[in-house]
């Protein structure tokens, strides 16, 4: 036991140190800010992380060990939840911090109100929830300070109420001194942050010291220590159930939604990049705090007398070993964790109360005076000071009312569950553009009511008989309404039960009502700005310069809230931005929006909006209309981009169509030409057939001899017609690929011989002389024997027919050239001019040597088509000799080559 006087002295010295640190930090921050510098160590990521550790309150410092002694590993969930949120900062925290900085958010209530169209009602509701959930928590801190003071001094007779009262008063004084020095933009409190960073270190080292002492002062190390306790302590079989999941979720929610956490993580954030450091450093802090909890609990259970309060093991363990200095250090650690939480919570709550409750009321009262009667700035500061005192007084009353009724931990969890009702509004608000104010309102209200009925109310059952009555038999005696078995659904754990119902109702109503209601323009604008905060910038607004409000009035308003000097600087900067060197800037929409944001940094978005709207009249409404126009402009832009893309697609389609059309035209032209040629070819024999048959019909003037001759001519012409039609049919069938040629290895030489045999008749008659030159050996090619013969015959016939030489002569040779079999057929006729070397292969393309030869003109096209099927070709080769020379080339079969 320690003498109360010594302890009091140590305690007061520590408090004095905190005041000094806060004072120095504030002075430094002020000096540096005036010189335009950053505030070195005060704005380091380390200080930022340490300030977040106000999450670890006296509930952690004392209560975690108690929880470990009672329920084993369950206490870990309270630290796992925040760990998961922080290592997942890229999801949500990053966005919250960005929104907080861009929109000058002052509190969690301001965030929700600002998101949902700067709604004052929402701000009030969230503020009320925050007060309701925080008051028990503050009472808990007072209780822990009082209890630990009693334990360490061993004086039971001490006046508990007096201890708690002075503790509360001291904290109120500190908070008022350093938490309400000014109303600067974004509500940053450098002195307070510095002090709580120091406290964070003290409580961490104190807990580690006790942990090491527990491990090495009472046993030979961890292994030895755990060997002495039964494994039942950890309760591995029951602890990893629904409650494990729910508690982790609850803790994760708390690190986002608790007003004090929002204050240090978002509002006090001076640099977004600090979050990157905190993302692992804060989980590491939690890890270090947690790792020594179990050893302390184990040592306490093993070495302290049965019936000792496990919530005080941290303190009683060193006391039992007569380690007075360590015990004092631990007391200071516990004191630190309690005070830092209370101070930040009080600041956060007082900001919310003054901005969202006091200011709107004051606005209403002074409406007629138009800000000339009172200084808004002083009103703000005073209302905050009063709020801090009131909050601590409320905590004190709560503590006196419920003193000693509950384990420390259960109050903490009730508070967590209460503030968790804000979660759907926060997450939905920053992730979902469709969320509306009415959705958020109804969800919050339902969740809050259910939480209060199912969790907060039953926590008073020991104090009030009426409440006990409700808990056991339901409100109005209706069993279905039992707060811990609602609608007779039996979920054993009251916390899980209450959380299930309140959050289900909250989320469901939030979503459904949001889907059913239509947001007003300001809501839509804010929703877009919040959800797309990484894409939009607050300055990106239509630049239309025409005044919407008297600049003088706005200046007066800014002076009243920001103070004379900051207001002057702000307006000078705005004027410079507009290119105005002297006097006030033009109060256009941009300036009004900017001013609203700046003022919002001090009084909250809803109040700032109301104030500015009072001066500008309909000015801000038209601003929102403008926003809507901007929204539509963006849509039009997007639409026109889509159009551009579509028209590019159309253009390429049109190009393809044009190409296809050109091809079709060529084909159609070819077809026309073909038809005219066919009709011409048919017409010649038909004409002679007709004229001769007409002569024959006039039988009188024709002799038998003549008739015989004419009939012969008619017969010949008919044969020619038939042959022509056969060839046309043949060609069209070949061209359309309808006829399947039976490809097989055949001897091309044999086919050539067969063709030569056919024309030998002409040679015998003396029409032509056929000279057979050098011939190749047996040449196997892949072809159809009959068709191949037809090809040779066609070319030989051609050479005979078009040969006008008095002594026509044809030379035929064949050879192997590489892996090709080549047949050359040359004549001594007039030859074919080079320009006709392709035309001769087109249909009826006899070239310029066209004359009546009795040929259909389809022989060469048919030959070429056939050879194509055999992978071969027929070409006209140029020679220095007179006459034309055709070459037929066919690939030899591999076997034949080898």
């Amino acid at each position: 036991m320690l003498a109360p006087n010594i302890l009091l002295f140590v305690c007061l010295s520590y408090v004095a140190l905190l005041f000094l640190v806060a004072f120095v930090a504030d002075r430094q921050a002020e000096a540096r800010a005036n010189r335009g510098h950053r505030i070195g160590w005060l704005q380091s990521p380390l200080v930022y992380t340490l300030s977040i550790s106000i999450y670890c309150t006296a509930w952690t410092f004392y209560g975690a060990v108690g929880s470990a002694a009672r329920s084993g590993l369950e206490f870990v969930t309270i630290y796992l939840g925040p760990t998961l949120v922080f290592i997942g900062w890229w999801w949500l925290l990053r966005k919250l911090v960005r929104i907080g900085r861009v929109h000058r958010i002052t509190s969690i209530a301001d965030l929700i109100s600002s998101r949902f169209g700067k709604s004052p009602t929402l701000a009030v509701i969230v503020t009320l929830i925050a007060i309701t959930a925080t008051t028990p928590y503050i009472a808990l801190q007072l209780q822990s300070v009082t209890l630990s003071y009693q334990v360490i001094t061993g004086s039971d007779g001490l006046n508990e109420a007096a201890t708690a009262f002075w503790a509360a008063a001291g904290m109120a004084l500190f908070t008022i001194l350093f938490g309400t020095r000014n109303v600067t933009a974004n509500e940053r409190h450098h002195g307070v942050v510095a002090a709580i960073a120091l406290e964070a270190l003290v409580k961490l080292f104190a807990l580690i010291a006790v942990g090491l002492f527990a491990i090495y002062g009472f046993s030979e190390g961890l292994g030895d220590m755990f060997s002495r306790v039964s494994p039942e302590l950890l309760r591995p079989d029951e602890v990893f159930g629904t409650r494990w999941v729910v508690l982790t979720f609850l803790a994760a929610t708390a690190i986002i939604c608790l007003p004090r956490q929002f204050q240090v993580t978002v509002v006090e954030n001076v640099d977004e990049k600090h979050l990157a450091t905190a993302s692992w450093l804060f989980p590491l802090y939690l890890f270090l705090i947690s790792i020594f909890v179990l050893p302390i609990a184990v040592a306490g259970l093993a070495h302290l007398p049965a019936g000792s309060n496990p919530d005080m093991f941290v303190l009683t363990l060193p006391l039992a070993a007569d380690q007075g200095a360590l015990a004092t250090f631990v007391f200071i650690g516990g004191f630190s964790s309690a005070t830092s939480m209370v101070i930040v919570a009080a600041i956060a709550l007082s900001t919310m109360i003054s901005n969202h409750i006091v200011m709107p009321v004051a606005l209403r009262v002074t409406r007629s005076h138009h800000y000339t009667s009172g200084d808004v700035r002083r009103l703000l500061l005073n209302s905050r000071r009063a709020s801090i005192a009131a909050i601590l007084a409320l905590g004190f009353v709560y503590y006196r009312l419920t003193d000693g009724s509950d384990g420390l931990a259960s109050i903490g969890l009730i508070a967590f569950a209460g503030i968790a009702q804000v979660l759907p509004g926060v997450v939905g608000g920053v992730m979902w553009r469709g969320a509306t104010r009415y959705g958020a309102l109804s969800g919050l209200a339902a969740g809050f009511v259910l939480w209060a009925y199912m969790l907060l109310l039953p926590s008073f059952r020991a104090e009030f008989a009426g409440i006990e009555q409700i808990v056991t038999s339901g409100a109005f005696g209706i069993a279905l309404l039992k707060p811990q078995a609602f609608l007779s659904v039996s979920i054993g754990d009251p916390l899980v039960h209450a959380l299930f119902w309140s959050l289900s109702a909250n989320t469901t109503l939030f979503v459904i009502v949001s889907l059913l209601t239509r947001p007003n323009p300001l809501e839509r604008l804010q929703g877009a700005l919040f959800v797309d905060v990484f894409r939009t910038r607050p300055g990106d607004q239509p630049q239309i310069l025409h005044p919407t409000a008297p600049a003088e009035d706005l200046f007066v308003l800014a002076q009243r809230i920001l103070g004379a000097e900051p207001a002057r600087l702000l307006f000078e900067e705005i004027a410079r931005g507009q290119g105005i060197t002297r006097g006030l800037p033009v109060a256009d929409h941009t300036v009004v929006a900017r001013l609203e944001r700046e003022l919002g940094g001090s009084v909250g978005a809803a109040s700032a909006h109301a104030m500015v709207a009072q001066i500008t009249g309909g000015g801000t409404v038209s601003l929102t209309d403008l926003m809507e126009i901007a929204d539509e402009t963006a849509e039009i832009l997007e639409y026109s981009q889509q159009l551009t893309q579509k028209s590019a697609e159309l253009e390429s389609t049109a190009l393809q169509l044009r190409e296809a059309n050109a091809k079709l035209k060529t084909l159609s032209d070819q077809k026309d030409e073909f038809l005219s040629q066919v009709s011409h070819e048919l017409r010649t024999p038909m004409t002679s057939i007709r004229s001769f048959s007409e002569i024959l019909l006039d039988a009188d003037s024709v002799s038998d001899d003549q008739a015989q001759r004419f009939l012969t001519i008619i017969n010949q012409e008919c044969l020619r017609l038939t042959a022509l039609l056969d060839e046309i049919l043949d060609l069209s069938v070949l061209e359309r690929g309808e006829v399947a040629l039976a490809l097989e290895p055949v001897d091309a030489e044999a086919a050539l011989d067969r063709a030569l045999d056919s024309v030998s008749g002409m040679a015998v008659r003396g029409d032509v002389r056929i000279r057979i030159g050098a011939r190749a050996a047996r040449s196997d090619v892949l072809a159809d024997f009959g068709r191949l013969t037809q090809v040779f015959l066609n070319i030989l016939n051609n050479s005979v027919k078009y040969n006008t030489h008095p002594e026509p002569e044809i030379t035929v040779t064949s050879r192997w050239q590489g892996d090709q079999y080549v047949v050359s057929i040359g004549d001594n006729g007039p030859g074919i001019p080079a320009e006709d070397s392709e035309t001769v292969f087109s249909k009826f393309g006899r070239g310029s040597r066209r004359q009546e030869t009795g040929s259909s003109g389809l022989g060469l096209p048919i030959s070429r088509e056939i050879l194509r099927r055999f992978d071969g070709e027929v070409v006209l080769v140029a020679t220095d000799r007179p006459g034309a020379q055709f070459e037929v080339r066919l690939p030899l079969l591999r076997a034949a080559v080898e």
Binding site: A33, L84, F86, I87, G221, F240, S279, F287
Partner: protein, 103 residues
């Protein structure tokens, strides 16, 4: 490293940052954590305690490794604010891109 690689790496790092909490939740919640709720011991310490704190530490280490590059990406996408605490910086079209592009 060219701009394409940097872009790919950036996407991988942010994907990892998004996946990490999901992995942590999976490893630390039932049913998986029940697997380790046996009576075994590692160096005299119950195995579930070793598992829990080891996973916790691994998550912290991975978050630490990711924080460096992520901080760089935040720097790159910083918006213009009217905050008097911020040193004035010029907005250029490049300011939306990761650092180093165009250097």
């Amino acid at each position: 490293m060219n701009a394409d690689d940097r872009d790919l790496r950036r996407r991988k790092v942010t994907d990892a940052a998004i996946f990490l909490p999901l992995l942590g939740t999976f490893l630390l919640m039932p049913p998986l954590i029940r697997v380790f709720a046996s009576n075994g011991e590692v160096a005299g310490i119950p195995v579930v305690i070793v598992y829990l704190f080891a996973i916790w530490l691994v998550l912290i280490i991975v978050a630490w490794r990711l924080a460096g590059p992520l901080r760089g990406y935040m720097q790159a996408e910083r918006p213009r604010t009217d905050d008097p605490d911020d040193p004035p910086h010029q907005d250029s079209p490049l300011s939306n891109k990761p650092p180093g592009i165009g250097q």
